[in-house]
């Protein structure tokens, strides 16, 4: 299944946001997930199944002025 992650089209296995985060080895506590322009809070990651063509933004806070 193809989805867009951070502006890049990628092949990912079917599953939930939580599974994707785990597969990518991302630290959940520092991660902000936007799914089709909607923020998905961490508590909901396991309930949201990815669909073909979904657009994901995986964000985090960094240093800035």
């Amino acid at each position: 299944m193809r989805v867009t992650i951070n502006g890049k089209s990628e092949q990912v296995p079917a599953g939930t946001i939580e599974q994707l985060v785990r597969q990518r080895g991302l630290k959940p506590e520092a991660l902000v997930v936007e799914h089709n322009q909607r923020i998905v809070r961490q508590a909901q990651w396991a309930q949201v199944r990815l669909q073909e063509g979904d657009i994901l933004e995986l964000l985090r806070f960094v240093g800035g002025g």
Binding site: N6, G7, A30, V32, I39, F61, V62, G63, G64, G65
Partner: protein
């Protein structure tokens, strides 16, 4: 001397130095800098995760007692700023947002027009909006009317460390704004920060000058002292300046003076 605490978005700030998390050689210095300076508000930015690298969580270096001020850096339009602000709030970083909309990559000048539009939208959504702007009095009044919690005029271009190049324009904001005026960007030295506070600015935001100092922890303290000194001087009402000298010691009763001698002829 009594000073009223600074209130922004319902939160009180006894320390008028706001800081930033950008450009630290090591993010572990941020906690030390916050402790040494006593700064109670600090900016952070939101970026895409680098999927190929792990990475440090900047929020781990900021005590919970410090107010987070996420910025909308990277936004080129009001719409992008609004989107970033909503993401930051949903991410649990609170209601404070520094609106930073930049379309000019050479001087990094804030786009006042887009910033006003974003302020109008976000203030209605209950955000505590701190817009970063060029110091423009009519615009500042519009921001105030739109519900901005403060206005943040720049002293000089971001990261330039050139100080208060816009001082006379900032003075108009200080004189006429009802919301706090926080001088942001360009402050390169503690003396610049003190000067902004002497002018009556309510606070200053300093990032680069602290983060890129050889010792950011000590520099944070230096800025904090300068801000406190400048604030105290403002409250104490500074003495007037004069073109000519005015002796500090009495000009009468000299030891060797002859009665009726004219003081001005004394060598």
């Amino acid at each position: 001397m009594n000073d009223e605490v600074l209130i922004i978005g319902g939160r009180t700030f006894s320390n008028r130095l706001f800081t930033g998390t950008g450009k630290f050689a090591d993010n572990r210095l941020i906690a030390g800098m916050l402790a040494s300076s006593g700064s109670q508000m600090i900016t952070v930015a939101l970026r895409r995760v680098d999927l190929s690298a792990g990475g440090d969580n900047i929020l781990d270096h900021i005590p919970k007692t410090v107010t987070l001020l996420p910025n909308t850096s990277g936004a080129r339009t009001a719409g992008e700023a609004v989107r970033i602000a909503r993401i930051a709030r949903e991410a649990g970083c609170g209601d404070f947002i520094k609106i930073e909309v930049i379309t000019d990559t050479k001087y990094l000048m804030p786009d006042n027009y887009e910033t006003l539009q974003a302020t109008e939208i976000l203030a209605k959504e209950g955000f505590v909006v701190l817009p970063y702007v060029l110091p423009d009095l009519p615009l500042a009044k519009r921001l105030e009317n739109a519900g901005a919690a403060a206005v943040m005029p720049l002293g000089a271009p971001i990261g330039s460390n050139r100080g208060l190049e816009t001082a006379s324009l900032i003075a108009l904001l200080v004189e006429n704004c009802h919301v706090p005026v926080v001088v942001d960007a360009g402050i390169g030295r503690p003396s610049h920060a003190a000067a902004a506070m002497e002018m009556g600015a309510d606070a200053v935001l300093v990032n680069t000058a602290i983060a890129t100092a050889q010792d950011p922890v000590a520099m944070g303290r230096a800025f904090s002292l300068a801000v406190a000194a400048g604030r105290m001087a403002f409250l104490a009402h500074m003495a007037e300046t004069s073109a000519l000298a005015r002796a500090s010691s009495p000009l009468t009763g000299f030891l060797n003076a002859v009665e009726n001698e004219c003081h001005s002829t004394r060598p």
